[in-house]
Symmetry: C2
């Protein structure tokens, strides 16, 4: 019989990997808390309609969908913004604004697995709900920036744009409202040939098309904002002033960023880690409204999600090393007769919150010592009959090789 | 249009609830680490076969099942022991033994939702793989006990039994091997009438039936073990000696515990919290073999899972209160002109790891103060033009009402 394998596109996380992931997760959670955001959680699956309302019915192709016992169409979540806003509409709409929440968990994408893209992947995201101004956008972008720093990343760029500018440019050129999204999607992907065909079909002149294309290439430091006139220009200048005040670095203005999604209403931003090559985006977000689609009042929000898996890869490409913490102490009875006494010793260490393991397989001292070294124990506590008679044990420092007899009552103190 | 609701039998966790859950999760993770266990994670879904191999095909009725793009039958995991052992077979089988791992996450059960039973629920569990003796069983039960204590529970019982004793008793009475599981299942559920009918069908005498029933009622302190003869009696006495040495309390011996599952091979145990009434089990486990079913070599393991949701309810029934931690500081610019300066101040606090929020909705001081009080801020930092000219802010203690002018450079020190 063959082995049962895990499903394609999924991963198992073994202890070393998992310890590293929990370390980064805790670092991000800490950043969110220092920014006054609080954690929420929603179910792994939702009614499929939640996601089609947000992203259109073609999103179904990428969803894991199945029927509920009540014959409802249920989907594993592909992202967590829609569920969070659904939760806000259902249960948090009467709370004081702004509402600042974050979340961490698995999302699912039903596509052919590729390198670095998994069917089950992890997002760490946040939503600031109920506020629409430069201050809230800056708050959210500043937090995204702090999270990227929490991964230890140094080589990254925060590209900031505004959906309104390009949208207005396209409308001003004569594109009918109902076609704007299609054009923006092509521009977002830099598919200029396809965009040109589309625009020519709409009878937009070559000159205006060139003008639009040039505009999407307006990229640079915050100084390029001096070329952007009108309210949106003022708005972006305000955001950039606030970000600089908060010490946010590596900001670029990129008026071509539209993030290919039609529900954004204002600012849009992406964080790129160039070390990752083609798949370099580690974070994306912007301001949007969704709640009215789910049966609530219309409420403005700004949010983002960090691609947790990809950000870890970027950190490692920059040479970040996470050092695992093994157990501190290995307790080693010299014979089965000493096991009960050794159990008492290990319990003492554990109550004192010292990570301690105990030999439970009845191995001889030399073999057990090799195991203790392999799991990275800093100390071994050898429990033999002679020492036990004096309520003592032999404490061995696994690094220096030193060993000495220590009274059990002094053991915790000796090790801490 | 109606609101979109979350699917039946699932929950949203709002910030207060989530903070409490993360607190308990961290406490359990800490216990696992002090016992030398390390965390692993497996996918949310697995091939359905993994679970039918473990529990038989009737488990399908309670599984969320769907077809993969490769037309494989995939199921949301109903528990995490099978996935962990599958991972062990695939990826950890050559590691040094014993392998001590733990996990925390969602599981899914496709049944009619009832009070306190959810379709999406959370388990915290552990497996000690590759060792079979009283020492490893004691290690696992001691950890389960420490986890129950980490919830703050005082009113609980650890019922310990051994599948081998009752199995032998039933076989000795004349029940054919292939019918043993069916009989044990009835006995586990205390369905004596149904068990009697079944046993009579197998031509077991009334006297022997009474004898079996009496045996399953052998319950009491560790002293009842003095009535249990043979190797299994010795084994249980050894486990109980080790548990007492490790300071484990509230142990009961219950020879009727069989946990209704046919894959257990030796010790079985359950932790009950009587405050919960009928649904009182908060933890269950035992020793088993599974790896050979999944294509690996036969390896003995002992494991358990804590019903995370139910244990929290039990803790609350005992009067445990988790106090939430709000943000520490609310930074409040007195006008829009002060926003950039205030942003600089809040960034300073956050870099110093002080949880700080900032007014971003342009509210007047009195209104913003009410918001700061509502989110539980300990301090407000009022940023006005006069103080800003002297690189200072007004620091207000929200509890005492005291306020004073503080230089920005001294602010972190003043608050910590």
């Amino acid at each position: 019989m063959g082995m049962i394998q895990r499903p394609r596109g999924t991963r198992d996380f073994l202890p070393d990997e998992m310890e590293k992931r929990r370390y980064y997760e805790a670092a991000l959670r800490n950043v969110a808390k220092t920014f006054g955001f609080r954690e929420v959680a929603t179910p792994i699956f939702e009614e499929a309609e939640l996601f089609t309302l947000k992203s259109g019915s073609n999103v179904l192709e990428e969803l894991y969908v199945f029927k509920d016992k009540g014959n409802r169409e249920i989907a594993l979540r592909p992202e967590m913004t829609a569920p969070t806003i659904r939760m806000f509409v259902n249960e948090m709409s009467s709370e004081l604004r702004p509402i600042k929440v974050f979340y961490f968990g698995q999302c699912f994408r039903y596509e052919r697995p590729q390198s670095g893209r998994y069917r089950e992947f992890f997002q760490f995201g946040a939503e600031l709900i109920g506020s629409l101004d430069a201050e809230s956008d800056a708050e959210v972008i500043a937090m995204a920036s702090s999270m990227i720093k929490a991964f230890g990343l140094k080589n990254y760029r925060i590209r900031i744009g505004h959906i309104g500018i390009l949208k207005q440019k396209v409308i001003d050129a004569g594109v009918p409202e109902e076609c704007v999204v299609r054009v923006l999607q092509k521009l977002d992907k830099k598919l200029y040939d396809e965009a040109r065909l589309l625009l020519l079909e709409m009878n937009i002149s070559e000159e205006k098309i060139r003008d639009i294309f040039e505009f999407t290439e307006t990229v640079g430091g915050v100084d390029v904002l001096s070329y952007v006139s009108g309210k949106t220009g003022d708005y972006l200048r305000r955001v950039s002033d606030l970000l600089l005040a908060m010490g946010v670095e590596n900001i670029m203005i990129d008026l071509g960023v539209v993030r290919g999604l039609d529900y954004y209403t204002g600012i849009v931003f992406e964080v790129e880690a160039p070390t990752l090559g083609a798949e370099k985006q580690v974070c994306g977000g912007g301001s949007y409204t969704l709640s009215e689609l789910f049966g609530g009042e219309r409420v403005f929000s700004t949010g983002f999600a960090v691609g947790f898996d990809r950000a870890i890869i970027a950190a490692e490409k920059e040479g970040q090393v996470y050092e695992k913490k093994g157990v501190k102490v290995y307790v080693l009875p010299t014979s089965k007769d000493m096991q009960v006494y050794a159990s008492r010793v290990v319990a003492k260490l554990r109550v004192a919150n010292i990570a301690s393991d105990i030999e439970i397989m009845g191995r001889k001292v030399s073999k057990a010592m090799r195991y203790a070294a392999a799991i990275g124990a800093e100390y071994t506590v050898i429990v033999g009959a002679k020492e036990a008679q004096q309520d003592s044990v032999m404490l061995r420092n696994m690094v220096s090789g030193e060993q000495k007899v220590v009274e059990v009552n002094n053991l915790v103190e000796e090790i801490q």
